[in-house]
Amino acid sequence: MNPLLDIRELRLELQRTRKESVAVLDGLSLSVGKGETVGIVGESGCGKSVLSLSILGLQPNAMRITGGEIWYKEEYPLHDLKPRDIRRYRGSEIAMVFQDPMSSLNNGLTVGAQVTEMFRLHAGCSRAEAKERAIALFRKVGLARPEALLKEYPYQLSGGMRQRIMIAIAISCNPGLLIADEPTTALDVTIQAQILDLMRQIRDENDTAIMLISHDLGVIADMCDRIAVMYAGQIIEEGPVDAIFEEPRHPYTIGLLQSIPAPSKKQEKLFSIPGTVPGLAERQSLGCRFAPRCGMAVKHCYTEAPPLFGASPGHAARCWLLAERGGQADAIVS
């Protein structure tokens, strides 16, 4: 299948001082197929948000793409577009939903203004037309009394309603890809489930691909077709959801899965991966980035960086432990 979004060997650098820069993302490849839901997991600071933002050129000002490519629908080189040109894809082809619905909407503008501007911008609708479409859209995402809602301000609404509005804005122009960066983290559990249901409904109705970033492995397992595990700016394991959950291959993924509290049995002590995520400057420059925290590390791990090794079709991990069995997977195309 041709990927909808194809990120190839992406390198993103943070300019620290005039002369010095550090890599935030390094050799990162990831693709998302049409209608597919891909989950991205990894500890805080590994670069999930920055990755999602860089797709639309929205990364922080001090960061720049210095290598690799980002292709959308195989013909649009997002990595290589001028700001004026990439704007056309924002919101219309690729839309984003952010974590905190409290701060992600503008409290100084009515909900209506913030929704209708999408139709006016991307579909060239008249004011009246845009309003009509907004009302229909609100109905679609399960927002009651849409007419009244248009005149209200975000701060008057609950977190769940705001996130529905965020989603409504995101899907307003029928994007091919929806990027959701921890869309439910800030919400109550019951609201979380509703928002996830809504996202599922949208995916099924519109065949929208979703890139879902979450700390919650339960949510990921529930929603995704495929999972990419990130560590220190790289994808260290990637594969179909079942493979990752049942046969994780990378020691980091294994640790991550062991640290989920199991609801069935009362565990006395929850496993946690020793050590902390390295800061941008402390990242291991030589060898495997996970080595300082890895219980399986051997000398070789400190001297040479592991490439991605295939474990099974579509499943690969960046760890030397796979070297004997699989062989190098230089082409895992999903």
């Binding site: 929205l58 503008n106 409290n107 100084g108 503008l109 911008l121 301000y153």
Partner: protein, 313 residues
């Protein structure tokens, strides 16, 4: 209590305090209006006679209550010095001062908002630096000094403006504007500096917020993000600063009028104080206090109207 009523009461109370204070202060400090009018040669009887005629020999509380009663009916009495109604004297001079202050305010907003936006947009770049140096200077130079410099350059050297010929608005609006322009600029400069700096800060603060990222992710142009989403939020706190500074602007006009010899409140107030012209001083102070408090009230109110977060509560 209703917010509006509460504010109105505070407004009246504040004005009352200011007026009481002025009344008390001027009776306590030495000086006698009868003496100033008659000169040092006057005999004690002459002075006593005039004091009685002016009504300033009566007990202070009685005078105060009398004055208050008059003021409530918008009768501020007669000027001791000019033997004309205080209201007429104020009416003659006030338009000059208030139009100077309003013109300065207009210039401030018209110049400071674009400059503040430009500074925020070019943060850290050359333009931002230049604006920063400019505002630094604007804050450091006193208005009267700036006034003198403007007179020198535009009045005496370039001769673009005729200095010190005030023309009332009713006579010739163009000439009136022309005669007020230089003093208004002198007054506006420090205000511009304050507003530019503040707007730059609030803009940068807003630009860092999450909703800006959302707006950009929608595909909006940078200038739509700025003007449609950010500017309104960033201007709100600026309104307060402008309002608070309006008192300063009025005080500044009194001084700058002197530099440009405009027939405004400044010279009248100085004469009135020098002559211990109690009714005139009180009338003028009352008006100034009222304007300052009223402007603050209006600012507060407009803030409420403009900020949906407060409006809804």
């Amino acid at each position: 209590m209703n917010y509006f009523v509460r504010r109105l009461l505070t407004l009246l109370l504040t004005v009352f305090f200011v007026v009481t204070l002025t009344f008390a202060a001027f009776r306590i400090i030495p000086g006698n209006p009868a003496l100033t009018i008659l000169g040092t040669e006057a005999s004690d009887e002459q002075i006593a006679l005039l004091e009685a005629k002016l009504g300033i020999n009566r007990p202070l509380p009685e005078q105060f209550i009398d004055w208050l009663r008059g003021a409530a009916a918008l009768d501020f009495g007669q000027s001791l010095r000019f033997s004309e109604p205080v209201l007429k004297l104020i009416g003659d001079r006030f338009p000059v001062t208030i139009s100077l202050a309003l013109l300065a305010l207009t210039i401030t907003i018209a110049v400071a908002v674009p400059l503040g936006i430009a500074a925020a947009r070019s943060k850290g770049k050359a333009a931002d630096m230049m604006i920063s140096i400019g505002t630094q200077l604007g804050l450091a130079i006193p208005s009267f000094w700036m006034g003198i410099a403007l007179i020198l350059v535009f009045g005496l050297v370039l001769r673009w403006f005729s200095v010190s010929t005030y023309v009332p608005w009713s006579e010739n609006p163009y000439l009136a504007l022309k005669s007020l322009l230089l003093p208004a600029i002198a007054l506006a400069v420090p205000q511009i500096a304050i507003v530019v700096r503040y707007l730059r800060t609030t803009l940068l603060e807003q630009l860092n917020l999450d909703y800006v990222r959302t707006a950009r992710s929608k595909g909006l142009k940078d200038h739509s993000v700025l003007f449609r989403h950010v500017l309104r939020n960033a201007l709100l706190p600026v309104i307060t600063v402008v309002g608070i500074n309006f008192g300063e602007l009025l005080a500044g006009s009194l001084v700058v009028e002197q530099v440009f010899t405009l027939p405004g409140f400044g010279s009248l107030l100085i004469t009135a104080i020098g002559n211990r012209d109690y009714p005139l001083v009180q009338g003028m102070i009352l008006l100034i206090a009222f304007i300052v408090v009223a402007v603050n009230f209006v600012v507060d109110l407009s803030y409420r109207i403009l900020d949906p977060k407060i409006r809804m509560k």
